[in-house]
């Protein structure tokens, strides 16, 4: 019994040490994790707020209005026509491994950095057609990025809900990062 008590005491000590180490490491990160959790949508909203505060967004009238969502066939012809941007909202590593031809990475989990990198291309025309996809119909990244772009004044944004799994299941062409 005494041994068990000393084991529990030691476990408690190790757990406390681990928490202290975790908190200490966190302080040395580029962007430390806040102590209270903010979900993906809230974090993306924070990123949008920071971008908006740096500039005032304006949205001229769109020329060709896309529907809210595109089917595989519609998306496929959109990709072939190259008449607008295709954004990949998945984490960048997945984009590197394979993506829809011509798609540009704008990961939900690193929206602020991705947006800054694409700023010139995106802000050249806020009414240009943009279609966003993520991994599958059940992922939420493309919807969140669409909402964020709308908040930034982009008025012609559509979702390809089937996402990467639908695209690859249909044996459509793929492209990998150079």
């Amino acid at each position: 019994m005494k041994t068990l008590r000393s084991d529990v005491m030691l476990i408690w000590l190790v757990a406390t040490t681990a928490l202290c180490v975790g908190l200490l490491i966190n302080q040395f990160r580029d962007t430390p994790l806040p102590l209270v959790y903010r979900d993906k949508a809230e974090r993306l909203q924070d990123s949008v707020q920071r971008i908006v505060s740096k500039e005032s967004a304006s949205a001229p009238a769109p020329i060709v209005q896309l529907p809210e969502k595109l089917s595989l066939e519609d998306f496929s012809s959109y990709v072939e026509s190259k008449r607008g941007l295709v954004l990949d909202a998945r984490p960048e590593i997945f984009h590197r491994l394979g993506h829809v031809p011509g798609a540009i990475s704008l990961p939900r989990d690193d929206f602020e950095t991705g947006y800054a990198a694409l700023k010139g291309k995106l802000e050249a025309d806020r009414s240009q057609p943009i279609v966003i996809y993520c991994s599958s119909a059940s992922c939420e990244d493309s919807g969140l990025v669409k909402k964020s772009l709308s908040a930034l004044g982009f008025s012609n944004v559509a979702l390809y809900e089937g996402g990467w799994s639908d695209w690859t299941n249909a044996k459509k062409p793929e492209e990998t990062a150079q």
Binding site: T3, L4, S6, D7, V8, L10, I11, V14, A15, T17, A18, L19, V21, G22, L23, I25, N26, L33, P34, L35, V36, Y37, R38, D39, K40, D109, S135, S136, S138, C139
Partner: protein, 144 residues
């Protein structure tokens, strides 16, 4: 059979394997606590005030316990802690399956939420529990 499971070489391999699994699990999560916090959030078990604390504290805890088990220092206490963790993981995964939640286990870094992977993780939690309890029992009997 019992003799085999009590063999000192078997116990050594089991201890190293268990330690290695937890060391690896902790190392994959310690670099990206935000992704781990997102994974824990899918379980809908903890309030937002605790999610990030757990995401910051649990990976170093797993690493320390893994190192203790591999080195053999206080292996009894480490295996007891790992058994406790395995029970917690099993309960978390079990309640997610019962509630029909599609969760991302986050056990070895973040991934896509999947029911099939959740079942696999649930089974793995039981294996880890069994292994940890066997190491604990053996260490209690003075075997290493």
């Amino acid at each position: 059979m019992r003799k085999f499971f009590s063999n000192r070489w078997f116990l050594l391999v089991l201890r190293l394997a268990l330690g290695g699994v937890f060391l690896y699990a902790g190392a994959t999560k310690v670099t990206n606590p935000q992704a781990f916090a997102d994974s824990i959030a899918t379980f809908k078990m903890l309030p937002p005030q605790l999610l990030n604390i757990v995401a910051l504290g649990l990976p170093p805890f797993e690493i320390l316990l893994g190192l203790m088990l591999i080195s053999g220092w206080k292996a009894r206490a480490a295996s007891l802690a790992l058994a406790g963790l395995s029970i917690v993981f099993g309960l978390a995964l079990g309640q997610a399956l019962m509630r029909g939640l599609v969760v991302d286990c986050g056990c070895f870094g973040s991934g896509e939420p999947s029911t099939l992977k959740t079942w696999a993780s649930f089974g793995r939690a039981f294996l880890l529990l069994a292994g940890s309890l066997w190491v604990f029992r053996s260490a209690s009997n003075g075997l290493k």
